[in-house]
């Protein structure tokens, strides 16, 4: 019965921070760190104990058709671990980073609100509740993107908010359509009832695809991402790029299209097409960037393309690859955004042409950025290599050599533009001698932790560990009837 605490703890922390913090932010930091640690412990505990079962929590001691239920299965627990893990490092990073913008408790309150929203989306088993938590997370995200109070940040935040509200409208319309057909909002019940009405299923599915495709920055719906992710403060960029687009976008797509709609081939085909477009176009766009964080943002679109491609192929291996890539991308993209943030804090610029030769003044940042670069470019033995490899293997095995070639080309382009980052950003000619620059230990620790994780998570692919960690998640995704029976239990 740990489920409601995933939502209670961060929400309570947010309120407490708003309540007890004065001018200085020490209390806020303490509360936030304690809350995140508790969440990480809970999430790990949940992931270890859940195995192949499903826990259902019914709010207010009511029974399912009348209540909002929370569902914890391997997939949710996996996402919760990612959220709290990356969230904790982001918090460590921001404690030292955010001070050069302003010292305010508001940041931590909004941060905990962001965590609340994402945890809620992942934990809930109710369609409308999902919408509500999504809006909470988005609201916090809009505010956090504009936290630095520069012109570009307001612009990015405004554009993000407008496009986000379009997609929220679409989600609401989709929910209305689904509700009109099933008179139910519990996802498991919808999954049971909706196949009787294929027309509604397809049209609602199409609307959901557009709406959550926007959240996951699928290619024609991606335009908000490079603005928002490059303008936000670095730890927020890493939360948005590493976690938010995956929980609000990819996770929901997986849950809806696999567990609720039962993976109709038409939508899988669309996933593949949109994924391929994202991979290629975003890679080319990333190649043209000189703004470090904007390049990383476009790279996120491209990597999301890999995940969508894996989901679209839809075989067991493809989903394994996609799930693995979600984890890996969260780790290395968060790491790269921390690197970018550190460099921005020290040099005051994000322009790659004005950086260079950072080995001397930022040794840890340079070394960890190398890990991140090699991981995202898919170089062994870093984790990105294995997830991309699995996706490509699955594409070939499922008889899609064209898509496999697209993934290969995308992987190559990724290498090219990240080589640009390394060459101009960290090893270029410009000689920068700046004395007295101090980055906090928290920032360095956060980067080192993630750099170690880029190596360590590649162990997940070993057969013994894989069966324990990744296979239950894949089993949850592949098994629609299992989801229905597990959630509804005796109420069938």
């Amino acid at each position: 019965m740990i489920l409601p605490f995933f939502i209670i703890i961060p929400l309570l922390a947010a309120f407490l921070i708003a309540l007890i913090s004065g001018e200085r932010d020490n209390w806020a930091i303490a509360v936030a760190v304690i809350a995140m640690l508790a969440l990480l412990c809970l999430a790990l505990f949940g992931f270890v104990t859940i195995g192949a079962q499903t826990q259902v929590y019914q709010m207010g001691a009511w029974k399912i058709p009348y209540t909002i239920c929370l569902v914890l299965d391997a997939l949710s627990a996996f996402m919760l671990v990612i959220i709290s893990g990356i969230g904790l490092t982001a918090l460590m990073f921001s404690v030292f980073y955010i001070r050069h913008l302003s010292t305010s408790w508001k940041y931590y309150a909004l941060f905990m609100l962001l965590i609340t929203g994402m945890n809620g989306v992942v934990a809930t088993g109710d369609l409308f509740n999902l919408f509500v938590f999504m809006e909470i997370a988005l609201f916090a995200a809009y505010a956090l993107v504009s936290y630095g109070s520069r012109a570009e940040e307001f612009e990015a935040s405004f554009k993000y908010a407008i496009m986000g509200s379009i997609s929220s409208t679409l989600v609401l319309v989709g929910i209305a359509i689904v509700y009109s057909a099933t008179s139910n909002l519990t996802m498991a019940t919808i999954a049971q009832l909706l196949p009787q009405n294929p027309t509604v299923m397809y049209f609602a599915g199409g609307i959901f695809l557009a709406a959550f495709g926007l959240k996951s920055a699928m290619m024609p719906f991606h335009a908000w991402l490079p603005d928002a992710h490059s303008s936000a403060p670095a730890p927020i960029s890493s939360m948005l790029s590493g976690v938010l687009i995956k929980t609000l976008g990819v996770y929901v797509l997986v849950r809806l299209f696999y567990n609720v709609l039962g993976a109709p081939p038409l939508f899988l085909k669309m996933f593949m097409i949109f994924g391929s477009i994202s991979i290629l176009v975003a890679s080319f766009l990333a190649m043209g960037q000189w703004d470090f964080k904007r390049l990383l943002a476009y790279s996120s679109i491209s990597q999301i393309g890999f995940i969508l491609l894996g989901l679209g192929i839809g075989t067991r291996w493809a989903i394994l690859g996609a799930i693995f890539h979600i984890l890996n991308h969260a780790i290395f993209k968060a790491l790269l955004f921390y690197n970018a943030g550190t460099v921005e804090m020290v040099l005051g610029t994000r322009d790659l042409r004005q950086m260079g030769n950072l080995t001397k003044i930022l040794p840890y940042t340079t070394a960890t950025s190398m890990c991140g670069t090699l991981a995202v470019a898919g170089m062994p033995p870093f984790n990105g290599f294995f997830s991309k490899l699995i996706i490509i293997i699955a594409a070939v095995h499922a008889g899609h050599p064209i898509y496999a070639s697209i993934a290969v080309a995308g992987s190559f382009l990724t290498l090219v533009y990240f080589m640009k980052v390394q060459r101009y950003g960290f090893h270029g000619k410009k000689v920068i001698e700046r004395e007295g620059v101090k980055i906090g230990w928290g920032m360095r620790t956060a980067m080192i932790i993630l750099a170690v994780l880029t190596l360590a998570t590649s162990l997940l692919i070993l057969p013994g560990i894989r069966t324990a960690v990744l296979d239950p998640v894949v089993a949850v995704i592949m098994n629609k009837t299992g989801y229905i029976t597990q959630v509804l239990g005796g109420n069938l």
Binding site: P4, F15, G60
Partner: protein, 149 residues
């Protein structure tokens, strides 16, 4: 004659009388949320509107002087924390988040719904304070000179 902030004397006078009625109406809606349409949110909005009325009539400087904004600001998160506390009480006593822990009472009375009345009040406070503070902070906003280059 020096320009007073806010609206005309007539508006101020009417506001001075009507604001209490509006607040009362808001409380009515909050307390009858489980019996008639309405509830914490609607009542909270009404109460917030009462404050906004005052702000419109007297100008926001006066309101800032009269009211303890930072206290209202603190009320909002404490209402949220209280709501969560009720939820946790539900876990502790009733077997689920937000489960009923207060005596149910008799049907069609004001005290007939256990938790719901308490929660309505909390929500009402939260919404009233939240909405008022939002509009107030939009109202006190002043431009800095010159755009961002």
């Amino acid at each position: 004659m020096k320009q007073q902030p806010g609206l005309t004397l007539i508006a101020k006078t009417v506001t001075r009388i009507s604001v209490w009625l509006i607040v009362l109406y808001g409380f009515y809606i909050i307390f009858h949320g489980h019996l008639t349409p309405g509830g914490g949110f609607a009542g909270g909005v009404v109460i917030a509107l009462a404050f906004l009325n005052v702000m419109l009539a007297y100008g926001h400087e006066t309101v800032t002087r009269w009211l303890n904004i930072s206290f209202m600001h603190d009320l909002e998160p404490s209402a949220g924390a209280l709501f969560l506390t009720m939820g946790i009480l539900g876990i502790a006593l009733g077997g689920g988040f937000l489960a009923n822990v207060v005596h149910r009472g008799t049907l069609f009375n004001v005290f007939s719904s256990g938790n719901i009345l308490v929660l309505n009040i909390i929500i009402g406070v939260k919404v009233a304070m939240g909405l008022f503070v939002v509009v107030w902070s939009l109202a006190i906003f002043r431009f800095f000179e010159g755009g961002d280059k």
